[in-house]
């Protein structure tokens, strides 16, 4: 008799627990996203503070400088490549703004130069982004490189970002550039 009562109460609780699990799952499933969410750095908010280079759980950071070639002016005096007040526009290490030499400058035709980011060297510090934004077209932009990003539930950079520039977006909205809309699908 005693045992039966306990058993009955247990069954009641079991059904209550089951119902609440199903309830929560049902409510959330109706407003759940099909795919995963990905972290997106909004370049319009970014202040190039340099924390992307240090806060990411991946070393070197999963945030990389991405070159939007459509926006580039192919300048000889590139604000993203050269340090301010350089003596001569040569590829000498002393002239480079990038601390790891991750930008490759190649001559295209007079007076234009092409700038490429070597992804393996880029640490996402944003120094070139700041330079290009200040003196040039702003074609160098920081972006979360999704092949490297481990997509943490709580992005360590987002937490440290002083400009609140990180947000979760569905896959279709990843890679948002400032001042340029790409129609390329990822």
């Amino acid at each position: 008799m005693k045992k039966d009562r306990r058993e009955f109460i247990n069954t009641c609780f079991r059904f209550a627990a089951g119902a609440s699990i199903v309830g929560v799952a049902g409510v959330l499933a109706s407003k759940s996203a099909k795919g995963d969410y990905f972290w997106q750095l909004d370049p319009t908010k970014c202040t190039q503070c340099g924390r992307c280079a240090t806060s990411c759980v991946v070393t070197p950071s999963a945030v990389k400088c991405i070159h939007v070639y459509d926006m580039c002016g192919y300048c000889d005096l590139c604000g993203g490549y050269f340090r301010p007040n350089v003596k001569n526009l040569s590829t000498g290490a002393e002239n480079m703004l990038c601390p790891t030499g991750a930008i490759k400058r190649t001559y295209v035709e007079d007076p234009y130069f092409k700038y490429e980011i070597i992804d393996d060297l880029c640490i996402g510090c944003g120094k070139c982004v700041k330079g290009c934004g200040a003196f040039g077209n702003g074609s160098l932009q920081l972006q979360v490189s999704h092949d490297l990003c481990v997509n943490c539930n709580e992005c360590a950079i987002a937490r440290d970002c002083p400009a609140d520039a990180f947000k979760r977006v569905p896959l279709e909205e990843a890679y948002q550039f400032a001042g340029f809309k790409t129609n390329k699908k990822i």
Binding site: K31, G35, D36, Y69, Y74, C75, E116, D119, P162, T182
Partner: protein, 420 residues
């Protein structure tokens, strides 16, 4: 008409686009004469979405397998093998992300924040272990959870803790769960993920501080079984509750208990309830008194808890970046102080101070109510665990405690009874 409208709006859109595009071009893109072809802007794709499905399927497979090992095969070796698989796949390969423990926060955020849509895989990782627990007990903890598995494989010399210490430390996960829910509901932070002691080890990239904590947990788990699971894991307490009413649960003996005492010390987490020797039921009078006393103590504890924690709501809210920034701005003096990166970021964002202060006041208010609820919840938990300690339960056999037991299956091989 509709068509015309849509074309018009498209045109408009393209003009607007072009305008913003043209605005940023200080140096227009040159017309190349040397036949230069422009490289494509690199946008590397993330891991394909199909893998999220693979994760969920593997979770179900691992759960089914370990449940079969525990309930049907009664095999500790099987549990170890599944643990190693989970450790390798969910731990080292998937680098500990998308885990059931952290998914609690995604669920809470989705419930409180209408703008956030929870990924289906995260929802699945939250719900599936709960469903299995409802039917079979905490087989998820036994070896599918990589955090549990990593501690379990380190357990070499289990030492039993004093009962009172276990009870006191066992309250911490409730507080941790409450805090995690508060921070997730206010959209502040995911503290479970942030202070996950093992994820840095799975990824080989922990900061020194987190590595020290992780290593300390692993060292402790050589002697004290599963310190994170028992004294910190917020998902574990939810599973604990669900497991108490589970339909089936691992039973130490395959047939009927002969009270041989062989299994008595086999449990590393002291989750085996011993038989009570004398059948001595509480008389009705004292039971009524106890009930009345508890019915007064528990609400009192809840109110005290709520009042105490709500006094600290401003401190709790300082974790929120907006509140912190507002506070910093309030005390900022442009003449004497150097601008911090946060203030610089705020200045360039173009938001006004008033907007920020309003937002921050709103968050503070949420924290005020939230901390009352959190305090009340902690009071309730304290009260109920007190009630649990005073409860008398007659028992004839050695049984696994349905709530505490993580179904690690160590006790099974101690039982000399043959399968009926």
């Amino acid at each position: 008409m509709k068509k015309v409208l849509s074309i018009l709006s498209l045109l408009l859109l393209s003009i607007v686009d072009f305008a913003t595009f043209a605005q940023t071009q200080r140096f227009p893109r040159p017309e190349f004469e040397s036949g230069y072809t422009q490289p494509v802007t690199s946008m590397p794709a993330p891991r394909a979405g199909i893998f999220a499905l693979v994760d969920v399927l593997l979770l179900i497979a691992a759960l089914s397998l370990i449940t079969w090992f525990i309930h049907k095969k009664r095999s500790r070796t099987g549990v170890v093998i599944t643990s190693l698989f989970s450790l390798v796949y969910f731990g080292f390969l998937r680098e500990g992300c998308v885990c059931s423990v952290g998914s609690v926060q995604n669920v809470v955020l989705a419930l409180f924040n209408p703008g956030y849509h929870i990924p289906l895989s995260a929802l699945a990782f939250f719900v599936i272990p709960l469903v299995y627990t409802l039917f079979f007990g905490r087989t998820f903890c036994a070896g599918v959870c990589p955090l549990g598995a990593v501690q379990d494989v380190f357990l070499l010399r289990p030492v039993s803790l004093k009962k009172w210490l276990q009870k006191v430390l066992g309250l911490i996960p409730w507080i941790y769960l409450g805090l995690a829910v508060l921070y997730a509901a206010t959209g502040t932070d995911f503290i479970i993920c942030r202070y996950d002691p093992f994820v840095g080890i799975f990824r080989f990239n922990a900061t020194f501080f987190m590595f020290a904590i992780g290593a300390a947990f692993l060292l402790i788990s050589v002697f004290i079984a599963r310190p994170y699971c028992r004294f910190l894991c917020p998902y574990g307490v939810i599973l604990n509750l669900v497991s108490r009413v589970s339909k089936n649960h691992l039973s130490i003996t395959p047939a009927s208990c002969i009270q041989c005492k062989l299994c008595e010390n086999s449990c590393p987490i002291d989750a085996i309830n011993k038989p009570v020797e004398v059948k001595q039921m509480e008389d009705k009078r004292s039971a009524t008194q106890r009930f009345i006393l508890l019915a007064m103590i528990i609400p009192a504890l809840m109110i005290i808890g709520g009042w105490v924690v709500s006094n600290f709501h401003e401190n709790l809210a300082m974790v929120n970046s907006k509140v912190r920034l507002a506070n910093e701005l309030l005390h900022f003096d442009a003449d004497t102080m150097k601008e911090s990166l946060e203030i610089e970021g705020f200045r360039t964002s173009g938001k006004t101070k008033e907007e920020l202060y309003l937002e921050s006041a709103d968050i503070l208010k949420q924290f005020y109510y939230g901390s009352w609820i959190l305090g009340g919840f902690i009071g309730l938990v304290f009260g109920l665990s007190l009630a649990g300690l005073t409860r008398y339960r007659y028992r004839e056999d050695y049984e696994a405690d349905k709530g505490e037991c993580v179904s690690c299956a160590r006790c099974l091989k101690y039982c000399p009874v043959e399968k009926a």
